[in-house]
């Protein structure tokens, strides 16, 4: 059969960075795929070499808007590994609270967008409604809805007072129930099962071969979670478990994300209740000696890895940053083959949440006939498939709302 190339991008629907996918298709089936990135290369590693140790957290915070605590966290852990200091208990638990709040809001964002993409606008509205409560807690605790600027090497920059802790505890208990309701509704829905199960399967073997990270690997039965494996200070004294699903399809990755929200809620509650009274929140690092350190932290999308080397001056000699998507993107070569175009956009969404920046998809034939598919058309393709499944099953679930 004749092979056609379908470019998806360069402003891709799925990730906050613009990127370009080349889909090699035969009819409806995708036979191969090529990923091009680099449209958003900002040279942060080079820039970091000209910032002092205390300035770098602000810089790495701006790598990603959603993981804005994970990068500073991994960087601070790397510097602490280099210096060899232990941070105070209160600071450890404050870090746990901020990091887990970020995880819940990131996962809910993803669930909402995935729901929108398969035509479940109710899921989208609900997920984002409850995400708003989490952002309110963030604002109360840190002063910002995003980019919290809470961390510094050796501890945290701001303490929580009694009023803030009470507010956060009250809200987090409130929000657990609706998230539970949303999760149950999604997991019970027959159409979502039909639509997402068996789509974009990443086998356990391929996940290990590509060193996939975060929900992408945990959805495929590889139980890698840095918070548990390392184990990170703060997390090791609290009770929680790593969520693992075996199937490796889009549904499993969604289930991992939804169930992780509850682990995060539990972690936040435990951390806030066990916060020691008073005491230091900063280990007070005065200078960074010569040496090297690795820091890693489990961001919502997987392990963030930072490596720093110091030559004894006030700036890093080298600062290497590796975000989880760098390892997760190449897995599409394994998970997209044999799928249809309507599903590829969803599969590529299954590793990372942001596809509100959809620009266009151009279908280019070898005879130079060009046809542009915009975001609406892509959504239509995906929603159409959901509708067909509903027709087959013969009912419309209460959760479903077709108005787009």
């Amino acid at each position: 059969m004749k092979q056609t190339i379908i470019p998806l991008g360069p402003y891709h629907p799925l990730l906050e960075e613009p990127e370009h996918f080349k889909l090699y298709v035969e009819g409806e089936k995708v036979v191969d795929l090529d990923v091009e990135i680099g449209y958003n290369h900002r040279g942060i590693e080079k820039l970091s070499e000209s910032k002092t140790w205390d300035q770098v957290p602000y810089l790495v915070e701006r790598i990603c808007g959603i993981c804005s605590t994970s990068h500073p966290m991994a960087y601070c852990l790397a510097v602490e590994d280099l210096v060899g200091c232990e941070i105070p208990k209160r600071a450890q638990l404050i870090r746990v609270v901020v990091c887990e709040l970020e995880r819940i809001h990131s996962h809910l964002l993803w669930v909402g967008l995935a729901g929108h993409f398969i035509g479940y606008n109710t899921v989208w509205m609900w997920a984002w409604k409850y995400r708003e409560t989490i952002l309110e807690i963030c604002e109360k605790l840190t002063g910002n809805r995003n980019h919290y600027a809470m961390f510094k090497p050796g501890g945290v920059r701001r303490d929580f007072n009694k009023e803030q802790i009470e507010f956060a505890l009250e809200k987090i208990v409130d929000v657990e129930k609706p998230i539970r309701m949303l999760t149950d509704a999604i997991l019970d829905d027959p159409v979502i099962h039909k639509r997402l199960k068996g789509i974009g399967v990443l086998t356990k073997r391929e996940a290990v071969n590509y060193s996939a990270l975060g929900p992408t690997s945990r959805g495929s039965g590889v139980p890698w979670d840095v918070r548990y494996d390392e184990p990170l200070d703060g997390f090791k004294d609290l009770k929680w478990k790593v969520i693992v699903q075996k199937d490796g399809d889009v549904f499993s990755k969604g289930v991992v994300r939804l169930l992780e929200c509850f682990e995060s809620v539990s972690l936040i509650k435990q951390a806030l209740l066990n916060l020691p009274e008073g005491g230091a929140i900063d280990a007070d690092i005065k200078e960074v000696p010569q040496g090297e350190g690795c820091g890693r932290y489990e961001a919502p999308r997987g392990e963030v890895f930072h490596y720093v080397r110091s030559d004894g001056s006030n700036m890093p000699y080298r600062h290497k940053v590796r975000a989880p998507t760098f390892n997760n993107l190449p897995t599409f070569k394994a998970s997209c083959k044999g799928e249809t175009i309507a599903d590829v956009a969803l599969i590529t969404a299954s590793i990372d949440p942001c596809y509100c920046c959809t620009e266009r998809v151009a279908v280019v034939d070898k005879n130079n006939n060009e046809k542009i598919l915009r975001e609406k058309d892509l959504v239509k393709l995906s929603v159409g498939k959901t509708k067909n499944i509903m027709k087959k099953i013969g009912k419309t679930p209460a959760l479903y709302n077709l108005e787009i």
Binding site: I37, G38, H41, G43, E45, K46, D81, G84, V208, N209, Y210, S211, W224, Y228, D229, E230, P231, K236, G291, E292, G293, C294, R296, E303, F305, Y307, R309, Y317, R318, K320, R322, F326, N327, L329, P330, K333
Partner: protein, 164 residues
């Protein structure tokens, strides 16, 4: 939760790789740094990834003035250990055997080190640029210490190559 058998990995590595390692240290409980020769490095990393069941965290390249140092960061999750394999490639011969030709996980990071620092990976199946624009001038490596912003001006860009 990870067990406290931190000397075990160190002992295993010393036993298995003794003749290939220049030096090996464990400065912290769960970090191992070893230094090896460039011609031995790919073999060791492949062994660690495939046989010793490590996960690839990433690889960092850095300009050490006498050459380019590459550090492969591998994590042994069940033993709670990060194993760093360092190798210094001299400027006189900036090349090393590619690991990506056998193990897919290494392909992207090798492409990145190639364009940022100019190390050649022999046998890599797909050595296109990853992050830099296609029009970025050839032979300029942004992460080297002697690179300045003023080294690349607008005229140096080769827009024909990028198809603009």
């Amino acid at each position: 939760m990870a067990k406290k058998n931190n000397q075990k990995v160190m002992k295993n590595l010393k036993k298995k790789l003794k003749k290939d390692i220049i030096d090996i240290v464990q400065p912290r409980e769960n970090r191992i740094y070893m230094r090896v020769k460039p011609e031995k490095a790919p073999g060791i990393v492949e062994y660690l990834f495939s046989k010793y069941k490590c996960k690839l965290c990433t690889a960092s390249g850095m300009d050490m003035r006498e050459g380019i140092e590459i550090i492969y960061h591998l994590a042994k999750e069940d033993e709670n250990m990060i194993i760093n394999v360092k190798t210094l490639i001299p400027y006189s011969k900036l090349e090393i055997e590619s690991i990506g030709k056998k193990i897919k996980a290494f392909r992207w990071i090798e492409r990145e080190i190639n364009e940022m620092l100019g190390v050649k990976f022999k046998g890599h199946p797909d050595m296109r640029r990853l992050l830099l624009a296609d029009s970025f001038p050839k032979g300029k490596y942004p992460l080297r210490k002697n690179f300045k912003n003023s080294d690349v001006t607008d005229e140096d860009y080769d827009y024909e190559r990028s198809g603009i």
